[in-house]
Symmetry: C2
Subunit: 818 residues, 2 copies
């Protein structure tokens, strides 16, 4: 969790001092830097008020750096956590039985900084400078045991690294810098005390950091006395002289100027980014006429865990002393992609590993470990005996195009159709959406997304279907308006589980008869040709978060698989084996719903159907970068087998199966697969408490599950609490609600009925983001549907706060309307 605003203020510079090792002179450098800022810069003709924070300190109080800083800088040190035992904070905290959690430590630090910013910059044109001195090396454990650089990451203060002047210090300084950089820190400068030794570390580091990283290195004159020296009097005299002289040293001035300059650049950059973006960027899915005000562009400084760091604006409430950034919950999981939270250091490291081992490797006629291992892992995870082959592309849309090429080709070959000359469409569902490239678009019915796309030609037929939802406190399966005759009347279920209990619900002669009658008309009467059944299992995402009755989708697949789509009498060959497709290839687009978005590896399992083609993207890389997979059965693969190259699937992007994406995807899947049995998810599934470290969940605990599971532990549950969802469904502004896995979709009542182009939910969306209560929430809307989505590691506490704020804002909206 990281519901902490980033540490950035306009006239207040907070900088974090890290050491490449212990005993490299962090405190001495910090004191020098403090003196420099305190004495001010001639050019600017102003001085800084100084603050000095040590978040964690170990050792008896009187004997500590605090005294030292007081003596030479004339500045008291704010210590947030003080442990008596002079050992590493994680050992001291454990012994003292006082282990502050990381988030709490950040909140304390943030508060201290905030009040400092307020106090120090209260006078007109007042500037504040704050040193945050860390303990030990960059990755030395904090009290909780988490490496320091990870603990403080949500604040993302600019860092200065004090290099290691000792033998071996070149290596440890560069490695320490790399650890900071790969955690998303901006490293303003490296400083190195010049011990005049033969090691010449500073000389080497200066060149290295300049050439490789464009980061300046500054050399500071050597310290005459060790900070832990015994001879106090002698020390004090010579150190006073040292500080007096050295604080005027050109390199101290340079490093101070650099810090100041970087701060100005960062704040000015942040302030100009919205208008520069407005000038330069053509945004995806955006009617730019609707966002003519540059301030409508949200500026993101960074992100960590489930939270963005967003630039404050007049809408979010900005003043000079207040934080320039605020944390906002990423309520769309960044367009449905996030799995392990933003800025995960291990995922970043694994991305770097693959980049370092391979860069990219051309994949035609070739293989590499990340691509092969991921393919094997996905095939195993899908638990679909039909699927044997993995084809890689870059995103959901391209993977869909590949799937359609596969399915349609297989059908054309099977039925002896010439797809190039006669139209062969797909069967699908109304309101489906499979991507933005023309082929993927053509697989969806005409709608607002493709209305003005000149090359769009919808190819296929799209079925109506019953949907399910929680409406007025009742789980309901509902036919489309006016289609009771086709689908039967609305049905009510005690639990969401019951809707998915397809074994108990049995086959649906009603649904199947309806589907067959449509097919008879299309195929037998009109002679139309179809090459594949293409659908998103359970939820039609971009089409408006429509939750389809799983029994209908199952029925559709059943009917399609037994139906003869041949347009002449005799040409339906028998399927070769039990895993071969029949009727038409069935393709599932799991781009949104697969890979744990709904709590399961594959969303096909909700329907009890094994598709012949399965498409995956988004969560595949845990939320890091684009990569997609089209999995296919052997009988699909065989359709491209032939003597001619032109019979092959001649598709392949340059970065096909890029090692970075493939490797990160495997790492993400390993971690997400572990979540199934881990504490985070059990919090949602049952009343397990985070303090409880027992590996086994008792039977009693299982029975207390908020989301009851009838069939097995793998079944129907949600990150969003049952009470909250039930409550929402009875809200007078709400038409209905759905909650499955990490997805919450709230359909607001919309008198205008304008669908996608409606702005019914805009007010609520803005109210969630631009407000000052417990947490700001960044959410996305689809017409009158506002949805929220967690990552796979969202903490229950955060969900609860988000639920509380959501409810409050919904109520407020209601009151405003009255």
């Amino acid at each position: 969790m990281s519901r902490v605003s980033g540490g950035l203020w306009k006239n207040y510079i907070a900088v974090q001092i890290y050491g490449a090792n212990t005993n490299v002179g962090k405190t001495v450098f910090s004191t020098l830097l403090g003196l420099r800022f305190k004495n001010g810069f001639k050019e600017q003709n102003w001085k800084f008020k100084i603050q000095y924070i040590k978040p964690v300190s170990t050792g008896p109080f009187n004997d500590r750096d605090d005294n030292y800083v007081q003596r030479y800088l004339g500045q008291s040190v704010s210590t947030l956590y003080q442990f008596e035992n002079p050992v590493s904070p994680h050992i001291a905290a454990r012994e003292a039985k006082d282990i502050p959690n990381d988030n709490h430590l950040n909140i304390l630090l943030q508060r201290q900084l905030r009040s400092g910013a307020h106090a120090l910059t209260s006078s007109p044109a007042g500037w504040g400078f704050c040193i945050v001195e860390t303990a030990g090396g960059v990755l030395s454990p904090g009290p909780s045991g988490t490496p320091q650089a990870d603990i403080y990451r949500p604040l993302r203060l600019p860092a200065v690294l004090v290099g290691d002047h000792k033998l071996g210090g070149i290596a440890s300084t560069i490695s320490a810098a790399e650890s900071l950089i790969m955690r998303g820190y901006d490293l303003d400068a490296v400083v190195c005390f010049d011990d005049q030794s033969k090691y010449q570390n500073a000389e080497y580091l200066t060149r290295y950091f300049n050439d490789k990283l464009r980061i300046p290195v500054y050399t500071i004159p050597w310290i005459p006395h060790d900070i832990n020296s015994k001879d106090k009097h002698d020390e004090e005299t010579s150190m006073r002289q040292y500080y007096s002289e050295t604080s005027k040293h050109p390199d101290i001035l340079r490093v101070a100027s650099r810090i100041y300059k970087q701060h100005r650049e960062r704040t000015e950059n942040l302030e100009s980014m919205a208008s520069r973006t407005h000038q330069t960027i053509w945004h995806p899915f955006t009617q730019h006429k609707h966002v003519e005000n540059p301030d409508d562009v949200l500026v993101f400084d960074s992100a960590y865990g489930d939270f963005f760091q967003v630039k404050s604006t007049s809408r979010s409430g900005e003043d000079t002393a207040s934080n320039m950034l605020y944390a906002a919950f990423d309520g769309s999981a960044s367009w449905w992609t996030q799995g392990l939270g933003h800025g995960d250091p291990q995922l970043a490291l694994q991305a770097a590993y693959a980049a370092g081992r391979y860069g990219h490797i051309m994949f035609a006629g070739a293989t590499h470990e990340p691509a092969l291992k991921l393919a094997e892992r996905v095939l195993k995870g899908l638990q679909n005996p039909r699927l044997t082959k993995i084809f890689y592309t870059d995103n959901g849309s391209t993977a869909t195009e590949v799937g359609i090429k596969m399915g349609v080709r297989a059908a054309c070959k099977h039925y002896n159709w010439n797809g190039a000359e006669e139209p062969v469409g797909v069967l699908g569902l109304k309101g489906s959406y499979h991507g933005d490239t023309i082929g993927a678009m053509d697989a969806s019915e005409p709608c607002v997304f493709n209305e003005k796309v000149d090359w769009y030609r919808g190819r296929g037929y799209w079925f109506d279907y019953p949907t399910f939802k929680l409406k007025d406190g009742r789980w309901t399966v509902e036919p489309p308006t006016g289609m009771e005759e086709e689908f039967g009347p609305a049905q009510y279920f005690a639990e969401q589980d019951d809707i998915f209990d397809l074994e108990t619900r049995g086959e649906s002669p009603h649904y199947e008869a309806y589907i067959e009658s449509i097919l008879d008309r299309l195929v037998k009467k009109e002679g139309r040709k179809f090459g594949a059944l293409v659908m998103e299992p359970v939820i039609l995402g971009a089409g408006g978060m429509i939750f389809v009755d799983p029994l209908f989708q199952k029925s559709l697949a059943r009917v399609v698989r037994r139906y003869n789509f041949a347009t002449s009498e005799s040409d339906l060959p028998a399927a070769k084996d039990e895993h071969a497709w029949t009727g038409l290839p069935v393709m599932f687009d799991e781009v949104f719903t697969g890979l744990y978005r709904l709590g399961r590896f594959s969303s096909a399992s909700f329907l009890d159907v094994h598709p012949d083609i399965s498409v995956h993207a988004k969560l595949l890389t845990g939320g890091l970068l684009p990569l997609s997979i089209t999995a296919a059965s052997d009988s699909i693969f065989q359709a491209f087998w032939g003597d001619e190259k032109s019979e092959a699937l001649l598709h392949g992007h340059s970065y096909t199966a890029h090692p970075i994406g493939s490797h990160v995807a495997s790492e993400s899947l390993i971690r997400m697969q572990g979540l199934k049995y881990g504490p985070t998810w059990w919090q949602y599934k049952c009343n397990w408490q985070p303090g409880d470290t027992s590996a086994l969940i008792t039977k009693e605990q299982k029975q207390e599950k908020p989301w009851k599971s009838r069939v097995n532990d793998d079944n129907i549950w949600s990150f969003w609490s049952k009470e909250f969802v039930l409550d929402l469904s009875q809200h007078k502004r709400v038409d209905h609600v759905n909650a499955l896995g990490s997805v919450l979709a709230v359909s607001l009542k919309d008198e205008s009925g304008a669908g996608y182009t409606s702005s019914a939910a805009v007010g609520l969306r803005d109210a969630l983001l631009f407000q000052k209560s417990k947490v700001q929430i960044h959410s996305r809307i689809l017409g009158n549907v506002i949805y929220l989505m967690a990552s796979m590691i969202t903490k229950k506490k955060d969900i609860e706060i988000v639920e509380e704020v959501f409810k409050k804002k919904l109520d407020a909206m209601d009151q405003e309307a009255q």
Copy 2:
């Protein structure tokens, strides 16, 4: 350069021992490990023969670790570079004026390992174990100044890290491990000497490495005497006892077993990968019937610089003692993507930085620094006053689809056409190829790529055109066969420069009249509608490396821009301003030819045309991961401006403008933009020598340029030497050659004339890869064209060797045919 085979042998384990710092016990651990392997494992009932290499050692010989190892392990140490002065190797080497280059050091080490592998495993079932002990920390500079882990990276030996037991050692150990991992090393294990101190480093590290990285940590009993102890006798007695006892310690056994197990897993994995890939992977652009033998799949262990590490097979010549890997020059620049070489550590670090700072951030209505800065950099680099907006997608195909949507919509709006109901095509060139998604495919004429794609519907008209080439030693601009009347007879030029000297060549009334006559027929006579001119400047890549006469492309753009495409009399509105498109929007697909592939930022500049839409991908990220850009003019942008959301460009992939790709792209462009003035390129442009460190190139040197530039320094040159290209063009097996920037295309004489499906070049391709001369070359072919491509940092020496081998194999092919 890294023309060194990776260090992997089946029965010979070479492991590299790195230290988290100096003085952490590398030599003691190495000795223990050596003893363990020497004494063998009871279970397996076999012993290892031992080898011990210190690539670099500093300090007087007799006083060194070598003696120590000899004493306790009974094994002499092979030292490759010995410096007297006991300082860091980079200082010692500089002082000794003996600075071995990194590649040379690797070649020496590789040779030593290879002979060790041969000697140690010569007996039946013989196993060898080799310790390669590094000096100092992971990133301590080697003799050349390059950090050690970077020097030895081409060999990519499995690494064991000796952790730092001292205070602060937790941080330095994790950081050191991260530095290794992000350079693509496999870290087999971490070991830590247990100094029984209160720091408890081993305990922490064990948990951390297990939880975060799944890497085991082993704890080794503390060393009784310092290696540099004075009391030699006492030391020897107690150390002998220590080694005798500790080499039997369970954790030494465990770490040895782990190394062994990892080695077995790696070799077995490598050996099974081809057949597992064959089973699981559906390859891009591959007729699987043509690669039925699993051995046809190339297995890549890693890559570095311009070289792959490929698994040896029977075709490449495998035996137990020989290396399981061989280095092959990446002659297709991994499908035209590579810019900064594989495995660049700084690019890997920058990828990790963006991952650590952001992960991914949803880009609708939002902005972040990497995306904005890249957009600004690309717009500036393109130097095209028309282009003002950047739209991001994931690859060349999606960026092309976006460009077509833009262009066609702008034209339809302008000419009042309803593209959804009437066919609106594009104008292009025969043999063009823009990508694999349906929309991108539809922009190309019917060909082998789309022949069996059921949803392909070519939409447009594709012009014939004259091509240019070096043929029989003459630079020739040639009309298509039988079209002398339309384009005039073949023209000859003294230099390639002259073909691109469009100022001197002037306008071409001949070309323009021809183009107009075609347009008159299509538009005026047949009433066909066109929405954009879409073409690849200079080279049609995937279509077969066809080099188009730049004057023709310029003429086409000129005519299209002045032509009235209105299909009724009065509806051609005037252009609003000088940067607005007229006639039709002109879109350039620079996916292959842009971003320095041909030596310039934009390939449009070769044609003297400012397109209205410009598409970029491939080299954009320097060869790391997928990202693409569609740049557009304001007059294109305005076509999507309206009150309705449906009028907007409703396109956007989940990972639009992902921070990792955007940030890496900026870093790559900064570096590639620097190459223009750097030594690497000057080697090709003129006779500048690498030893010459003068920043300025003299006038005399400029005049000696192998590729003469008439217009300015930015003009026509190639990585491939003029002599070589001239020579090839006169070879009896060669029809013609082209060389521009990093691209070399050799069109072989092909009696069958089968084009794409021809296998004329297959023999040469295989001969280049499966052979034992100076360097193996991995190349790709397109029909009868074999092409080679360098990255932007390929060394002249490597190019020369590749040229030599290429020539030799071409000659051999010729002899075989006789």
